[in-house]
C-alpha cells in the first residue's frame, strides 16, 4: 500500500513536472515572440490561446487517444497507456496557458522597456532579452499556473493513461478510483498529498519569483 502510494505520488510529479517543462520550453519562446511582435493575425492567435485555456481535458485526451490508438496515425509508436502519452496530454493542456500568460506578461512590459532599451542603444536582440528579463515575474507565474493545471488534471490522463496500477496511475486518477470503491477517506488523503505537492512547488516558485522581482 505504502509503496503503491509512493509510486503514484512520484509518477504524478514526474508526469506533471515533465509536461510543464516541455510546455514551457515550447510556449515561453512563442509567448515572448507573440507578445513582442506586431503582426497581422496576432489578435486571432490571442483569441485562440485564451479559448484554449478552457479546453476540456477529456476532449484533449480523446483527440490524443484517437491519434495514439492502434488504428490512429501515431499508433505505431505504441504510446497509448504509457506515462509518455500522459505527458503529451498534459503538455497539450499547459501549452496554451503558458503561451497566453507569457504573451500578456511580455506585452504589458514590452512598450516601455523596449523604448528604454532602444534609446539607450540596445540592438534588437539585446532589447528582446531586456524585455523578457523584465517580464520574468509574469513568466514564472505562467509556469506556476501551468503546473497547477497539469497536476490537477484527471480526464486526459485517465483516457490516454488508463489508470493502470504501478504503471500509469497518478494521484488524480487514484482519487477517482478510490471514490468509486467508496474509500472516501483514502481518496481525501490522496487529495491532501496532491495539494501538498502543489503547495511546495508554488512556494519554491514564489521564492524564485520574489527574487526575480527584486534583482
Amino acid at each position: 500500500m505504502e509503496s503503491d502510494l509512493l509510486n503514484v505520488t512520484l509518477l504524478s510529479i514526474f508526469v506533471s513536472g515533465t509536461a510543464t517543462l516541455l510546455a514551457s520550453l515550447l510556449a515561453i519562446p512563442l509567448g515572448c515572440f507573440f507578445g513582442m511582435r506586431k503582426f497581422r493575425g496576432k489578435e486571432v492567435i490571442r483569441t485562440i490561446t485564451y479559448t484554449l485555456y478552457g479546453f476540456p481535458p477529456v476532449v484533449a485526451g480523446l483527440v490524443l487517444y484517437i491519434l495514439l490508438s492502434n488504428s490512429g496515425p501515431l499508433g505505431s509508436l505504441q504510446l497509448l497507456f504509457t506515462p509518455t502519452a500522459m505527458i503529451l496530454a498534459q503538455t497539450l493542456l499547459v501549452v496554451p496557458i503558458v503561451i497566453g500568460l507569457t504573451m500578456s506578461a511580455v506585452s504589458t512590459t514590452s512598450k516601455d522597456y523596449t523604448e528604454t532599451a532602444i534609446i539607450l542603444g540596445a540592438d534588437s536582440w539585446r532589447t528582446a532579452r531586456t524585455v523578457i528579463h523584465e517580464a520574468r515575474v509574469g513568466i514564472i507565474s505562467a509556469v506556476m499556473i501551468g503546473f497547477g493545471r497539469a497536476l490537477a488534471e484527471v480526464g486526459a490522463v485517465m483516457l490516454v493513461g488508463g489508470n493502470i496500477q504501478w504503471h500509469t496511475r497518478v494521484l488524480t486518477t487514484a482519487i477517482v478510483l478510490e471514490t468509486r470503491e467508496g474509500n472516501f477517506g483514502y481518496g481525501l488523503a490522496l487529495g491532501a498529498i496532491l495539494l501538498t505537492i502543489g503547495m511546495i512547488f508554488f512556494y519554491l516558485m514564489k521564492r524564485y519569483q520574489d527574487k526575480g522581482m527584486l534583482t
Binding site: T116, I118, I119, G121, R126, E134
Partner: protein, 241 residues
C-alpha cells in the same frame, strides 16, 4: 553645422494633425528649448527625432546622417544620442546596474569608474546599490539622466525632464545638464512647458503651437521681443486655449 535637422515633418493620429510641416534646425553645441502648451505636438516631434516613431512625411538628419526609422539601420546613430522621457522607468536591478546598462549594450568592459562618475554627477552615488525601482520620482529622473549621459552622447534630447519635480531636484538636474553640455560640448534639445526653465537654461528657444513652430530665436529675444503675436501672448501667459 546642424546637429539636428528636420524638414517638413508631418504626423497625424487618425483625423487629427499633430505635426504640420515642421522644419527645425539645431546647431551643434546649442542648448535648444521647444516651449509650448500641452498638446502642441512637442513629444511627438521628439519621438520622431529619436527614431522612436516615423513621421507621415518629412526627413530627419542627426549629426549629418539621415534617420531611416529602421531599428537596425539607425543603431549606430542612436548610440551617439540619448533621450530622457518625462516618466523614465528603472530596470529591475540596482541603480548602478541601471546606469551600467548603457555601457553594457555598447560592449564597454571597464564600467565601474564611468558609472560612479555619472552617479556622482547627479548626487546618487550613495544610492548606487539600491534598487532602481525604490527611488523617488526625483531620484529616478536623476538616475535616468546618469544612464543617458554615462556614455557621453553627442546629442541629448529631453522631454519635460523635470516635470512634476520639486525645486531641489529641478535645480540639481538643470545644473547637471548645463555642466554636461559644457564638459562635452553636446547638443541639447529640451522640450518644456515651463517657460522659466527655458529662460534659465536655453540659448535658443522655439515656440510650438498647434503642431507648428511659430517662432524661433535666441531665448532672450523670444521672451523680451517676440515677433509673432501668439508667441508674445504665450510667453506672457495671456494665451487662452
Amino acid at each position: 553645422m546642424n546637429a539636428i535637422q528636420a524638414k517638413g515633418i508631418s504626423k497625424s493620429y487618425r483625423e487629427r494633425k499633430v505635426l504640420k510641416e515642421i522644419d527645425l534646425e539645431v546647431e551643434e553645441g546649442d542648448i535648444f528649448a521647444i516651449i509650448g502648451p500641452s498638446g502642441a505636438g512637442k513629444t511627438t516631434l521628439l519621438r520622431i527625432l529619436c527614431s522612436l516613431q516615423p513621421p507621415d512625411s518629412g526627413t530627419v538628419a542627426i549629426l549629418g546622417r539621415q534617420i531611416s526609422f529602421k531599428a537596425t539601420e539607425d543603431l549606430q546613430l542612436r548610440r551617439r544620442m540619448s533621450f530622457i522621457s518625462q516618466k523614465p522607468i528603472a530596470f529591475r536591478n540596482s541603480v548602478r546596474e541601471n546606469v551600467a546598462y548603457s555601457l553594457k549594450v555598447r560592449g564597454v568592459e571597464d564600467r565601474k569608474e564611468m558609472v560612479d562618475n555619472a552617479l556622482q554627477h547627479v548626487g546618487l552615488l550613495d544610492l548606487a546599490d539600491n534598487l532602481g525601482m525604490t527611488l523617488s520620482g526625483g531620484e529616478l529622473q536623476r538616475m535616468a539622466f546618469a544612464r543617458a549621459t554615462v556614455y557621453n552622447p553627442e546629442v541629448l534630447i529631453l522631454d519635460e525632464f523635470t516635470a512634476h519635480l520639486d525645486p531641489y531636484n529641478i535645480k540639481m538636474l538643470e545644473d547637471a545638464l548645463i555642466s554636461y553640455q559644457k564638459e562635452n560640448g553636446a547638443t541639447i534639445l529640451t522640450v518644456t512647458h515651463n517657460m522659466f526653465q527655458a529662460k534659465r537654461i536655453a540659448r535658443t528657444t522655439a515656440v510650438m503651437l498647434d503642431g507648428q513652430i511659430v517662432e524661433q530665436n535666441d531665448t532672450a529675444t523670444i521672451f523680451n521681443n517676440p515677433t509673432d503675436e501668439r508667441t508674445g501672448q504665450f510667453v506672457k501667459g495671456e494665451m487662452i486655449f
